[in-house]
């Protein structure tokens, strides 16, 4: 990554961090309802991988921890926040919520709330790409705990058998909801689990965006060149609980402190300062600007947007006026 790109990405990651922290506040204020799963601590995963890919061109699909991936794909943060506020201006018109952010124009194919559900969907998107003959790839971001679902194995197997252009990114944050990985999972290194499907894989430090980017470049090139699927494991940590309803009682303060010292944004910031690309003051200014944008632009838009109208209640259940429902156009 060039220095200018790194500076841009630093700002983007900082934006993602502040966006999520502001979501936390809005949830406490009861402006956001339902379940809310936040991304702070894991930013280098989404940004490192998608910097190496072509967001907006490549297809991306993920779990319910989906705001930041959508933002990186180019989905409007204003409309994401409006969705969280359950407003009609939201990306899904207030029908989806935090766990179901979609932006199909940006080829962000959605957040899904069944753990592991996107595994086969990502393979199917790759099948669609292959049939249409494009050079896109299908990128699936999921957590380590999703790998204990049956469809993990089913999907990897099919992706390999049919050489589908799918990049599976495992954000290994060491916990499945509130259960530590070694208490639920026989093999802790997730990349080893795909060797049974003869899929190339790698494991890297998910807190270091340069490491993620370098590994993702290899992975993306592999998949895009038509060599079939790839599995990339990123070792990371979420600062918040699994969701807002999580007491976080299953982790030690010491462990949290240890990971806090390896913050992906601070790692990149300090590296850029050391290289003389930015100063600490530049970073503070950047932070102030980001916070102002979130408050004055994004939160304001969400706050002031209207509630969904009643006719949205049943508008998208079935296709509207589909001629084949009545046996075709007469």
């Amino acid at each position: 990554m060039k220095a200018a790109d790194k500076k841009r990405v630093l700002r983007e990651m900082l934006f993602a961090r502040r966006f999520e922290e502001r979501c936390y506040e809005a949830y406490v204020e009861r402006k956001i309802g339902g379940f809310l799963h936040l991304y702070p601590g894991e930013e280098a995963c989404a940004y490192g991988v998608l910097e190496a890919a072509r967001p907006g061109h490549d297809y991306v699909i993920t779990s319910y921890r989906d705001h930041v991936h959508a933002i990186k794909c180019g989905v409007s943060p204003k409309e994401i926040m409006a969705e969280l506020f359950a407003k009609e201006t939201g990306v899904c018109k207030g029908l989806g919520g935090s766990m179901h952010i979609f932006g199909t124009e940006q080829r962000f194919m959605g957040g899904y709330a069944l753990v592991g559900g996107p595994f086969p969907l990502a393979a199917g998107i790759a099948k669609g790409i292959k049939m249409k003959g494009g050079d896109e790839i299908s990128i699936c971001f999921l957590g380590d705990a999703a790998n204990n679902q049956g469809v993990f194995h089913e999907s990897l197997n099919m992706a390999k058998v049919w050489d589908l252009p799918t990049l599976y990114v495992c954000e290994n944050n060491l916990y499945g909801i509130g259960t530590r990985i070694d208490r639920s999972t026989a093999v802790i290194d997730q990349y080893k689990r795909v060797s049974g499907y003869d899929i190339p894989s790698a494991q890297v430090d998910g807190q270091d965006i340069d490491a993620v980017y370098a590994a993702a470049k290899i992975a993306v090139d592999h998949v895009r060149s038509g060599k079939g699927p790839y599995f990339l494991e990123l070792m990371t940590y979420r600062y918040r609980g699994h969701s807002m309803s999580d007491s976080n009682a299953y982790r030690t303060k010491e462990e949290e402190r240890m990971w806090g010292k390896r913050d992906p944004i601070i790692i990149l910031r300090d590296r850029l300062i050391e290289a003389g690309e930015i100063t600490l003051d530049d970073y503070s200014t950047m932070d102030t600007e980001v916070l102002e944008e979130i408050e004055n632009d994004i939160i304001k838009f969400a706050e002031e947007s209207p509630e969904p109208s009643a006719e949205l209640l049943d508008k998208y259940v079935l296709a509207e006026n589909d001629p084949w429902v009545s046996g075709g156009a007469k």
Binding site: G117, A123, G124, W324
Partner: protein, 328 residues
Amino acid sequence: MAEIMYWEALRRAHDEEMTRDPLVICMGEDIGVAGGTYKATNGLFDKYGPERVIDTPISEGGYTGLGIGASFLGVRPIIEIMSVNFAWLAMDQIFNTAAKVRYMSGGQLEAPVVIRSPGGTAHQLGAQHSARMEKVFMGVAGLRSVTPSNPRQAYGLLKSAIRCNDPVFINEHELMYNMKGEVPDEEYFMPLEGSEVAREGSDITLFGYNISVHWCTQAAEILASKHGINCEVIDLYSLAPLDRDGIKASVSKTHRAMIVEEAEPAVGVGSEVMAIINEECFFELDAPPARVSAENVPIPYNHTLEKMAIPNAQDVVNGVLKMFGLAG
């Protein structure tokens, strides 16, 4: 109009739609090289190749999800699940993704997949290969569910289902693939909603779907010839949505209703049709509606017990006679 078998009708629909649209594919276990357990895709592998006629691993949840994911990009997958019993393994993808994705994305994405699967009690297949799951597929918002009772419907419903932008579940029957019937020579599309009058009558309406339509028409012949009771038979080929208007119209004419279902009674087609009758035309009734259902048991292996577990035309006759106060 040619008389062809049910499987041939399905095969013809696959073939025509795959010729028309290169994005129509079919996938499932043994559907390609082996030609399909019930021959619905026979010969298509040689004609369209392995990229479009896909022999899947035995991973129902996985390949159903894969088909749904492909449909996001405009591919039109026809997913065959070899037996409806195995569809339980694909329920997460069918219900949580296909049925909900348009809604939860605020209309951005849709899943135009067809999922075909045979259910029903066949010949001593035992508890885990004899499920009747139509009830499971008729109560989930966002999913269409149809069930053809003859080759014409099998052809016409599949044709429309492939082109429709909603996910459509097609419930077939293991005993019906070799049934013969007339299918129009020209292209024919069945509406995915509504019902058909399989037999006109005036004294009672027998509601059937899929195989039970045939029990109803057989019973109607016996009741007409031996007992002078003139039954109307309504074929509920669309189970989701059910044809409220058709149900109301027929019951308002005959003033009596019996629902005949191969499945266990609870939470099924019978209970749903009865609820609709109550809601739509309760005061038209001359007698309480009744249903003829399977026994509430897993299907036994023993042939005699198996036959006892599911209804037949004689059970329908007996039920009607009882309703008319003519039972012996």
